[in-house]
Subunit: 199 residues, 2 copies
Amino acid sequence: MGGVSTVERVPKQDRSRATRQRLLEAAVACLAEHGWAGSTVSVVAERAGVSRGAAQHHFPTREDLFTAAVEYVAEERSTAIRALFPRGAADRRAVVAALVDLYTGPLFRAALHLWVAASNEDQLRPRVTELEARVGRETHRIAVDLLGADESRPGVRETVQGLLDMARGLGLANLLTDDAGRRQPVVAQWAALLEQTLD
Amino acid sequence: MGGVSTVERVPKQDRSRATRQRLLEAAVACLAEHGWAGSTVSVVAERAGVSRGAAQHHFPTREDLFTAAVEYVAEERSTAIRALFPRGAADRRAVVAALVDLYTGPLFRAALHLWVAASNEDQLRPRVTELEARVGRETHRIAVDLLGADESRPGVRETVQGLLDMARGLGLANLLTDDAGRRQPVVAQWAALLEQTLD
Protein backbone atom coordinates (compact mmCIF):
# COMPACT_ATOMS: atom_id res chain seq x y z
CA MET A 1 0.00 0.00 0.00
CA GLY A 2 1.15 3.55 -0.77
CA GLY A 3 1.14 6.78 1.16
CA VAL A 4 -2.49 7.64 0.53
CA SER A 5 -3.98 4.51 2.09
CA THR A 6 -1.72 4.96 5.13
CA VAL A 7 -3.12 8.44 5.56
CA GLU A 8 -6.65 7.06 5.32
CA ARG A 9 -5.98 4.21 7.72
CA VAL A 10 -5.14 6.45 10.68
CA PRO A 11 -8.47 8.26 10.97
CA LYS A 12 -10.27 4.92 10.53
CA GLN A 13 -8.33 3.46 13.47
CA ASP A 14 -9.15 6.59 15.47
CA ARG A 15 -12.83 6.19 14.67
CA SER A 16 -12.70 2.54 15.67
CA ARG A 17 -10.99 3.40 18.95
CA ALA A 18 -13.52 6.13 19.67
CA THR A 19 -16.40 3.71 19.03
CA ARG A 20 -14.81 1.17 21.35
CA GLN A 21 -14.44 3.77 24.11
CA ARG A 22 -18.03 4.94 23.72
CA LEU A 23 -19.19 1.33 24.04
CA LEU A 24 -17.07 0.71 27.15
CA GLU A 25 -18.26 3.86 28.88
CA ALA A 26 -21.89 3.14 28.00
CA ALA A 27 -21.49 -0.42 29.29
CA VAL A 28 -20.27 0.71 32.72
CA ALA A 29 -23.05 3.30 32.99
CA CYS A 30 -25.64 0.70 31.96
CA LEU A 31 -24.37 -1.87 34.47
CA ALA A 32 -24.35 0.73 37.27
CA GLU A 33 -27.90 1.86 36.50
CA HIS A 34 -29.68 -1.32 35.46
CA GLY A 35 -27.62 -4.19 36.86
CA TRP A 36 -26.53 -7.31 35.01
CA ALA A 37 -30.05 -8.47 34.15
CA GLY A 38 -30.77 -5.18 32.36
CA SER A 39 -27.41 -4.99 30.59
CA THR A 40 -27.11 -6.50 27.11
CA VAL A 41 -24.95 -5.70 24.08
CA SER A 42 -28.03 -4.27 22.30
CA VAL A 43 -28.93 -1.90 25.15
CA VAL A 44 -25.35 -0.66 25.34
CA ALA A 45 -25.03 -0.26 21.56
CA GLU A 46 -28.16 1.88 21.51
CA ARG A 47 -26.96 3.97 24.44
CA ALA A 48 -23.60 4.52 22.72
CA GLY A 49 -25.25 5.37 19.38
CA VAL A 50 -23.52 2.44 17.67
CA SER A 51 -25.12 -0.27 15.50
CA ARG A 52 -25.52 -3.70 17.07
CA GLY A 53 -23.27 -5.15 14.33
CA ALA A 54 -20.48 -2.68 15.08
CA ALA A 55 -20.80 -3.42 18.80
CA GLN A 56 -20.51 -7.15 18.14
CA HIS A 57 -17.52 -6.58 15.91
CA HIS A 58 -15.73 -5.05 18.90
CA PHE A 59 -17.19 -7.39 21.54
CA PRO A 60 -18.46 -10.74 20.27
CA THR A 61 -20.15 -11.68 23.58
CA ARG A 62 -21.89 -9.95 26.45
CA GLU A 63 -19.16 -11.22 28.81
CA ASP A 64 -16.47 -9.70 26.56
CA LEU A 65 -18.15 -6.31 26.60
CA PHE A 66 -18.81 -5.98 30.31
CA THR A 67 -15.54 -7.39 31.63
CA ALA A 68 -13.63 -5.15 29.17
CA ALA A 69 -15.73 -2.18 30.28
CA VAL A 70 -15.04 -2.63 33.99
CA GLU A 71 -11.33 -3.14 33.26
CA TYR A 72 -11.16 -0.08 31.01
CA VAL A 73 -12.82 2.23 33.50
CA ALA A 74 -10.72 0.82 36.35
CA GLU A 75 -7.58 1.67 34.34
CA GLU A 76 -8.89 5.17 33.67
CA ARG A 77 -9.50 5.65 37.39
CA SER A 78 -6.02 4.33 38.24
CA THR A 79 -4.41 6.79 35.86
CA ALA A 80 -6.53 9.62 37.26
CA ILE A 81 -5.69 8.89 40.91
CA ARG A 82 -1.96 8.68 40.14
CA ALA A 83 -2.21 12.02 38.31
CA LEU A 84 -3.84 13.59 41.40
CA PHE A 85 -0.71 12.89 43.47
CA PRO A 86 2.23 13.26 41.09
CA ARG A 87 4.76 13.46 43.93
CA GLY A 88 3.49 10.54 46.00
CA ALA A 89 2.92 10.62 49.76
CA ALA A 90 2.44 14.37 50.17
CA ASP A 91 -0.76 14.23 52.19
CA ARG A 92 -1.69 10.73 53.31
CA ARG A 93 -5.19 11.70 54.47
CA ALA A 94 -5.93 13.07 51.00
CA VAL A 95 -4.59 9.85 49.45
CA VAL A 96 -6.82 7.74 51.72
CA ALA A 97 -9.85 9.88 50.82
CA ALA A 98 -9.09 9.50 47.08
CA LEU A 99 -8.69 5.72 47.46
CA VAL A 100 -12.04 5.48 49.25
CA ASP A 101 -13.61 7.56 46.46
CA LEU A 102 -12.67 4.77 44.02
CA TYR A 103 -15.30 2.63 45.75
CA THR A 104 -18.20 5.03 46.01
CA GLY A 105 -18.87 5.96 42.38
CA PRO A 106 -20.50 4.37 39.34
CA LEU A 107 -17.45 2.19 38.56
CA PHE A 108 -17.73 0.39 41.89
CA ARG A 109 -21.47 0.04 41.42
CA ALA A 110 -20.92 -1.48 37.96
CA ALA A 111 -18.18 -3.80 39.23
CA LEU A 112 -20.41 -4.90 42.12
CA HIS A 113 -23.20 -5.91 39.73
CA LEU A 114 -20.68 -7.86 37.65
CA TRP A 115 -19.20 -9.64 40.70
CA VAL A 116 -22.58 -10.58 42.10
CA ALA A 117 -23.78 -11.84 38.70
CA ALA A 118 -20.54 -13.82 38.35
CA SER A 119 -21.18 -15.58 41.65
CA ASN A 120 -24.20 -17.32 40.07
CA GLU A 121 -23.12 -17.59 36.42
CA ASP A 122 -20.55 -20.15 35.42
CA GLN A 123 -19.77 -18.41 32.13
CA LEU A 124 -18.91 -15.17 33.87
CA ARG A 125 -17.19 -16.36 37.05
CA PRO A 126 -13.66 -17.24 35.81
CA ARG A 127 -13.35 -14.03 33.82
CA VAL A 128 -14.55 -11.79 36.62
CA THR A 129 -12.39 -13.63 39.18
CA GLU A 130 -9.33 -13.00 37.03
CA LEU A 131 -10.33 -9.38 36.41
CA GLU A 132 -10.95 -8.74 40.13
CA ALA A 133 -7.50 -10.13 41.00
CA ARG A 134 -5.80 -7.94 38.39
CA VAL A 135 -7.65 -4.76 39.37
CA GLY A 136 -7.10 -5.55 43.07
CA ARG A 137 -3.34 -5.95 42.60
CA GLU A 138 -3.13 -2.67 40.69
CA THR A 139 -5.14 -0.79 43.33
CA HIS A 140 -2.89 -2.21 46.05
CA ARG A 141 0.22 -1.08 44.11
CA ILE A 142 -1.21 2.44 43.75
CA ALA A 143 -2.05 2.59 47.46
CA VAL A 144 1.46 1.48 48.46
CA ASP A 145 3.11 3.99 46.09
CA LEU A 146 0.94 6.98 46.97
CA LEU A 147 1.02 6.32 50.71
CA GLY A 148 4.79 5.78 50.63
CA ALA A 149 4.24 2.51 52.51
CA ASP A 150 7.30 0.38 53.23
CA GLU A 151 5.95 -3.14 52.90
CA SER A 152 9.15 -4.70 54.22
CA ARG A 153 8.12 -3.52 57.70
CA PRO A 154 5.89 -5.92 59.67
CA GLY A 155 2.18 -5.19 59.49
CA VAL A 156 2.39 -2.55 56.77
CA ARG A 157 1.20 -4.73 53.90
CA GLU A 158 -1.77 -5.99 55.95
CA THR A 159 -2.64 -2.47 57.07
CA VAL A 160 -2.83 -1.24 53.48
CA GLN A 161 -4.87 -4.29 52.45
CA GLY A 162 -7.25 -3.71 55.36
CA LEU A 163 -7.67 -0.11 54.29
CA LEU A 164 -8.73 -1.21 50.81
CA ASP A 165 -11.08 -3.82 52.31
CA MET A 166 -12.61 -1.09 54.43
CA ALA A 167 -12.97 1.11 51.34
CA ARG A 168 -14.79 -1.75 49.58
CA GLY A 169 -17.11 -2.16 52.56
CA LEU A 170 -17.79 1.59 52.61
CA GLY A 171 -18.67 1.36 48.91
CA LEU A 172 -21.21 -1.33 49.68
CA ALA A 173 -22.68 0.75 52.51
CA ASN A 174 -23.14 3.57 49.98
CA LEU A 175 -25.13 1.44 47.53
CA LEU A 176 -28.68 2.18 48.68
CA THR A 177 -28.28 5.48 50.50
CA ASP A 178 -25.85 8.39 50.51
CA ASP A 179 -23.56 7.31 53.34
CA ALA A 180 -21.06 10.23 53.09
CA GLY A 181 -22.00 11.74 56.47
CA ARG A 182 -21.23 8.53 58.36
CA ARG A 183 -18.29 7.63 56.13
CA GLN A 184 -16.13 10.74 56.54
CA PRO A 185 -15.34 10.46 60.29
CA VAL A 186 -14.75 6.70 59.91
CA VAL A 187 -12.23 7.33 57.12
CA ALA A 188 -10.55 10.12 59.11
CA GLN A 189 -10.15 7.88 62.14
CA TRP A 190 -8.69 4.93 60.22
CA ALA A 191 -6.43 7.23 58.22
CA ALA A 192 -4.99 8.36 61.57
CA LEU A 193 -4.47 4.72 62.67
CA LEU A 194 -2.86 3.98 59.30
CA GLU A 195 -0.43 6.89 59.68
CA GLN A 196 0.69 5.56 63.08
CA THR A 197 1.52 2.22 61.48
CA LEU A 198 3.28 3.65 58.43
CA ASP A 199 5.48 6.11 60.33
CA MET B 1 -63.80 -22.35 73.38
CA GLY B 2 -63.07 -25.03 76.00
CA GLY B 3 -59.91 -26.73 77.18
CA VAL B 4 -59.75 -29.23 74.35
CA SER B 5 -59.52 -26.66 71.58
CA THR B 6 -56.81 -24.78 73.54
CA VAL B 7 -54.80 -28.00 73.70
CA GLU B 8 -55.23 -28.46 69.97
CA ARG B 9 -54.34 -24.84 69.17
CA VAL B 10 -50.86 -25.03 70.63
CA PRO B 11 -49.45 -27.72 68.34
CA LYS B 12 -51.07 -25.98 65.37
CA GLN B 13 -49.24 -22.76 66.23
CA ASP B 14 -46.05 -24.76 66.59
CA ARG B 15 -46.57 -26.29 63.15
CA SER B 16 -47.20 -22.87 61.67
CA ARG B 17 -44.05 -21.48 63.28
CA ALA B 18 -42.02 -24.45 62.06
CA THR B 19 -43.33 -23.94 58.52
CA ARG B 20 -42.44 -20.26 58.68
CA GLN B 21 -38.90 -21.04 59.85
CA ARG B 22 -38.41 -23.64 57.12
CA LEU B 23 -39.50 -21.07 54.52
CA LEU B 24 -37.17 -18.39 55.91
CA GLU B 25 -34.17 -20.70 55.99
CA ALA B 26 -34.89 -22.01 52.50
CA ALA B 27 -35.25 -18.43 51.25
CA VAL B 28 -31.81 -17.41 52.52
CA ALA B 29 -30.19 -20.54 51.08
CA CYS B 30 -31.95 -19.96 47.74
CA LEU B 31 -30.87 -16.31 47.58
CA ALA B 32 -27.27 -17.21 48.44
CA GLU B 33 -27.12 -19.93 45.78
CA HIS B 34 -29.20 -18.54 42.94
CA GLY B 35 -29.34 -14.78 43.46
CA TRP B 36 -32.42 -12.58 43.29
CA ALA B 37 -33.32 -13.47 39.71
CA GLY B 38 -33.50 -17.17 40.59
CA SER B 39 -35.36 -16.66 43.87
CA THR B 40 -39.16 -16.78 43.81
CA VAL B 41 -41.79 -17.80 46.37
CA SER B 42 -42.47 -20.98 44.35
CA VAL B 43 -38.84 -22.07 44.27
CA VAL B 44 -38.51 -21.49 48.02
CA ALA B 45 -41.79 -23.28 48.81
CA GLU B 46 -40.63 -26.33 46.88
CA ARG B 47 -37.23 -26.28 48.58
CA ALA B 48 -38.91 -26.04 52.01
CA GLY B 49 -41.41 -28.83 51.18
CA VAL B 50 -44.34 -26.45 51.68
CA SER B 51 -47.25 -25.83 49.30
CA ARG B 52 -47.21 -22.59 47.34
CA GLY B 53 -50.52 -21.62 48.99
CA ALA B 54 -49.14 -22.14 52.48
CA ALA B 55 -46.03 -20.11 51.56
CA GLN B 56 -48.20 -17.27 50.31
CA HIS B 57 -50.31 -17.41 53.45
CA HIS B 58 -47.15 -16.64 55.45
CA PHE B 59 -45.58 -14.26 52.92
CA PRO B 60 -47.98 -12.62 50.47
CA THR B 61 -45.22 -11.19 48.25
CA ARG B 62 -41.73 -12.12 47.14
CA GLU B 63 -40.41 -8.96 48.87
CA ASP B 64 -42.09 -10.01 52.15
CA LEU B 65 -40.48 -13.44 52.04
CA PHE B 66 -36.92 -12.41 51.24
CA THR B 67 -36.66 -9.35 53.50
CA ALA B 68 -38.14 -11.39 56.38
CA ALA B 69 -35.69 -14.20 55.64
CA VAL B 70 -32.59 -12.01 55.74
CA GLU B 71 -33.85 -10.37 58.94
CA TYR B 72 -34.64 -13.71 60.59
CA VAL B 73 -31.24 -15.21 59.83
CA ALA B 74 -29.48 -12.01 60.88
CA GLU B 75 -31.26 -12.22 64.24
CA GLU B 76 -30.28 -15.88 64.60
CA ARG B 77 -26.66 -14.96 63.91
CA SER B 78 -26.80 -12.08 66.42
CA THR B 79 -28.09 -14.40 69.12
CA ALA B 80 -25.42 -16.97 68.28
CA ILE B 81 -22.53 -14.51 68.41
CA ARG B 82 -23.70 -13.10 71.75
CA ALA B 83 -23.94 -16.65 73.09
CA LEU B 84 -20.33 -17.31 72.01
CA PHE B 85 -19.06 -14.57 74.36
CA PRO B 86 -21.37 -14.64 77.38
CA ARG B 87 -18.98 -12.57 79.48
CA GLY B 88 -18.19 -9.86 76.89
CA ALA B 89 -14.71 -8.60 76.10
CA ALA B 90 -12.73 -11.64 77.21
CA ASP B 91 -10.62 -12.00 74.08
CA ARG B 92 -10.97 -9.11 71.66
CA ARG B 93 -9.17 -10.86 68.79
CA ALA B 94 -11.64 -13.72 69.02
CA VAL B 95 -14.53 -11.22 69.02
CA VAL B 96 -13.12 -9.50 65.91
CA ALA B 97 -12.74 -12.88 64.16
CA ALA B 98 -16.34 -13.82 65.02
CA LEU B 99 -17.61 -10.45 63.76
CA VAL B 100 -15.75 -10.90 60.46
CA ASP B 101 -17.24 -14.40 60.18
CA LEU B 102 -20.71 -12.78 60.08
CA TYR B 103 -19.77 -11.41 56.66
CA THR B 104 -18.22 -14.45 55.02
CA GLY B 105 -21.03 -17.01 55.13
CA PRO B 106 -24.28 -17.68 53.26
CA LEU B 107 -26.21 -14.98 55.18
CA PHE B 108 -23.92 -12.25 53.87
CA ARG B 109 -24.09 -13.72 50.38
CA ALA B 110 -27.91 -13.71 50.54
CA ALA B 111 -28.01 -10.17 51.93
CA LEU B 112 -25.64 -9.01 49.21
CA HIS B 113 -27.92 -10.37 46.48
CA LEU B 114 -30.86 -8.61 48.12
CA TRP B 115 -29.00 -5.27 48.43
CA VAL B 116 -27.79 -5.34 44.86
CA ALA B 117 -31.25 -6.23 43.55
CA ALA B 118 -32.73 -3.44 45.68
CA SER B 119 -30.42 -0.89 44.06
CA ASN B 120 -32.25 -1.43 40.75
CA GLU B 121 -35.77 -2.30 41.94
CA ASP B 122 -38.02 0.43 43.28
CA GLN B 123 -40.34 -2.03 45.00
CA LEU B 124 -37.52 -3.55 46.99
CA ARG B 125 -35.31 -0.53 47.76
CA PRO B 126 -37.15 1.14 50.68
CA ARG B 127 -37.65 -2.17 52.49
CA VAL B 128 -34.06 -3.29 52.09
CA THR B 129 -32.73 0.15 53.04
CA GLU B 130 -34.74 0.02 56.25
CA LEU B 131 -33.69 -3.58 56.93
CA GLU B 132 -30.02 -2.80 56.31
CA ALA B 133 -30.15 0.13 58.75
CA ARG B 134 -31.79 -2.02 61.45
CA VAL B 135 -29.38 -4.95 61.03
CA GLY B 136 -26.43 -2.55 60.87
CA ARG B 137 -27.42 -0.85 64.14
CA GLU B 138 -27.80 -4.21 65.87
CA THR B 139 -24.42 -5.45 64.61
CA HIS B 140 -22.79 -2.23 65.80
CA ARG B 141 -24.40 -2.65 69.25
CA ILE B 142 -23.11 -6.24 69.47
CA ALA B 143 -19.61 -5.16 68.45
CA VAL B 144 -19.55 -2.38 71.07
CA ASP B 145 -20.80 -4.71 73.81
CA LEU B 146 -18.55 -7.66 73.04
CA LEU B 147 -15.44 -5.52 72.50
CA GLY B 148 -16.14 -3.55 75.68
CA ALA B 149 -15.77 -0.34 73.66
CA ASP B 150 -16.33 2.94 75.48
CA GLU B 151 -17.97 5.09 72.81
CA SER B 152 -17.78 8.20 74.94
CA ARG B 153 -14.03 8.31 74.20
CA PRO B 154 -13.03 10.15 71.01
CA GLY B 155 -12.48 7.96 67.94
CA VAL B 156 -13.84 4.77 69.52
CA ARG B 157 -17.20 4.82 67.73
CA GLU B 158 -15.56 5.47 64.35
CA THR B 159 -12.98 2.75 64.98
CA VAL B 160 -15.69 0.15 65.62
CA GLN B 161 -17.65 1.31 62.57
CA GLY B 162 -14.54 1.10 60.39
CA LEU B 163 -13.95 -2.44 61.63
CA LEU B 164 -17.45 -3.47 60.52
CA ASP B 165 -16.94 -1.71 57.18
CA MET B 166 -13.74 -3.69 56.73
CA ALA B 167 -15.58 -6.90 57.61
CA ARG B 168 -18.17 -6.07 54.93
CA GLY B 169 -15.40 -5.45 52.38
CA LEU B 170 -13.76 -8.74 53.33
CA GLY B 171 -17.09 -10.47 52.77
CA LEU B 172 -17.24 -9.04 49.28
CA ALA B 173 -13.66 -10.16 48.57
CA ASN B 174 -14.74 -13.68 49.55
CA LEU B 175 -17.63 -13.82 47.10
CA LEU B 176 -15.92 -15.40 44.08
CA THR B 177 -12.93 -17.14 45.67
CA ASP B 178 -11.97 -18.47 49.09
CA ASP B 179 -10.11 -15.47 50.46
CA ALA B 180 -9.38 -16.88 53.96
CA GLY B 181 -5.60 -17.08 53.46
CA ARG B 182 -5.30 -13.39 52.64
CA ARG B 183 -8.01 -12.38 55.12
CA GLN B 184 -6.54 -13.80 58.33
CA PRO B 185 -3.38 -11.66 58.59
CA VAL B 186 -5.37 -8.55 57.58
CA VAL B 187 -7.89 -9.19 60.36
CA ALA B 188 -5.10 -9.87 62.88
CA GLN B 189 -3.38 -6.59 62.01
CA TRP B 190 -6.57 -4.52 62.22
CA ALA B 191 -7.56 -6.21 65.46
CA ALA B 192 -4.20 -5.04 66.88
CA LEU B 193 -4.83 -1.46 65.70
CA LEU B 194 -8.32 -1.62 67.20
CA GLU B 195 -6.96 -2.78 70.57
CA GLN B 196 -4.58 0.21 70.69
CA THR B 197 -7.53 2.56 70.26
CA LEU B 198 -9.83 0.81 72.72
CA ASP B 199 -7.29 0.54 75.56
